[in-house]
Symmetry: C2
Subunit: 249 residues, 2 copies
């Protein structure tokens, strides 16, 4: 596994070959062995295969082509509903309509998602995460009919790889670990850490085609802007409240 | 990998054998190949090996014995600080002091943590997640000296297994997946889903020793109470704000 993870990459273009139900279910069932808070398994996975549903989901993901092109789209949801229903049926008073419970469920959900993704990749499938899931959660909630105490945390598109892209760069290992304490970065550290990324020809082109003076400006001015983040943060809080994860008491 | 994940279990008792620096670093470096939002790698890992630091961290984790017993304790932190510093040095205006950015960073962090955990388990190590990380984040922030825009999301203890416990139960596979839409659970569904868990002798003992009428009441009244969740939710929001992830503007 170590060797294949070292050379992994996300796959955004899939062949027409379908992913069989048995194969997918086996991978998902194994992924449900991931660690889970108190053995509660606070997640649900919605499996999208129908063309119509993919078309509906597509705008929620800013029309990224993977959504309609992949044979399978998996929406991994934090789910405290099932557990809450069980409590109510067993004369127990659930107290999971709050942010702490959402955090527990979201962590469970992401551990399952990444376990699935690695299992799928090792089995020869290609996967791609859609970060857009939390940018536009209400659309996804409406389309997948997610009830109270269920929230879409991430989405993975799944299929057989068509185009395998080159592996993307990573920051130097030493810059991501801290021995015993967090060590603040000096300006020299930052220069060294981002030097390789800034030197890549695709990033230089990216900067030039966007008429920006630095690669960082491509991120702050175009890809991940303050304006978008502020709007999406308010949105996130509103939808978390609507789904019952921020208590109004 | 599929076969080993099927039979995996969390390890809470470790042998005295140390985990070598090279071995740990190789596993961590490979885990940093996990998918990451926009290639930003919004995480840092603080590595705790010193006895003194483990003793200090222990109360933040409710004195769970794994913290002082494991040779290595890894605190996986959402980190938008490094990226923000880079932006500032490159004449770019960062806008990452908000909840959306925290969500992006927390997702990145958890994908890396689970990739590490699976790699470590496959390589013969035992790991255990500490959900307590988000229950008591301020203590961890103080001990590890985490600055603004850095937040501890989860902790994994690492060592060679001493006691390998039996595998824990999982809910029926079909109860965790939803075909195209979220399907609400009927009372019969819920009874069926939790039947096996409720029948386990350790859970019956657990219920009896806590003098509870149902297993669900052990969760709601003792393990994950509404009172604790409410306090911890307020705490979580307060500490997220303090670390700069909820904008005060």
């Amino acid at each position: 596994m170590n060797e294949f993870v070292k050379y992994r990459r996300s796959i955004r273009k899939y062949s027409k070959k379908d992913v069989s139900h048995n194969f997918l279910n086996d991978l998902l069932e194994t992924s449900f062995k991931a660690p889970t808070t108190g053995g509660m398994q606070l997640y649900s996975v919605v499996i999208t295969r129908s063309e119509k549903m993919k078309e509906r989901l597509s705008p929620a993901h800013y029309n990224q082509p993977m959504v309609t092109q992949a044979p399978v789209v998996l929406t991994f949801c934090a789910d405290f509903r099932r557990f809450t229903q069980w409590c109510k049926l067993r004369n127990a008073t659930p107290g999971y309509n709050n942010l702490m419970s959402f955090a527990n469920a979201a962590i469970d959900t992401l551990l399952v998602a990444q376990t699935f993704s690695l299992l799928a990749e090792e089995a020869g499938l290609g996967t791609c995460y859609l970060g857009t899931t939390t940018y536009n959660p209400q659309m996804i909630i409406d389309i997948l009919e997610l009830p109270q105490l269920v929230f879409p945390v991430t989405t993975i598109t799944v299929g057989y790889p068509d185009v395998v892209p080159p592996q993307v760069d990573r920051l130097p290992f030493e810059s991501l670990i801290h021995d015993e304490f967090y060590h603040e970065y000096s300006n020299d550290d930052i220069n060294m850490i981002y030097e390789f990324k800034e030197s890549l020809s695709e990033n230089i082109k990216y900067m030039e085609s966007n008429q920006k003076g630095t690669l960082a400006q491509v991120f702050t001015d175009i890809r991940y802007t303050k304006k978008d983040n502020v709007v999406m943060s308010e949105n996130l809080i509103r939808v978390l409240r609507k789904q019952g994860f921020i208590s109004v008491e």
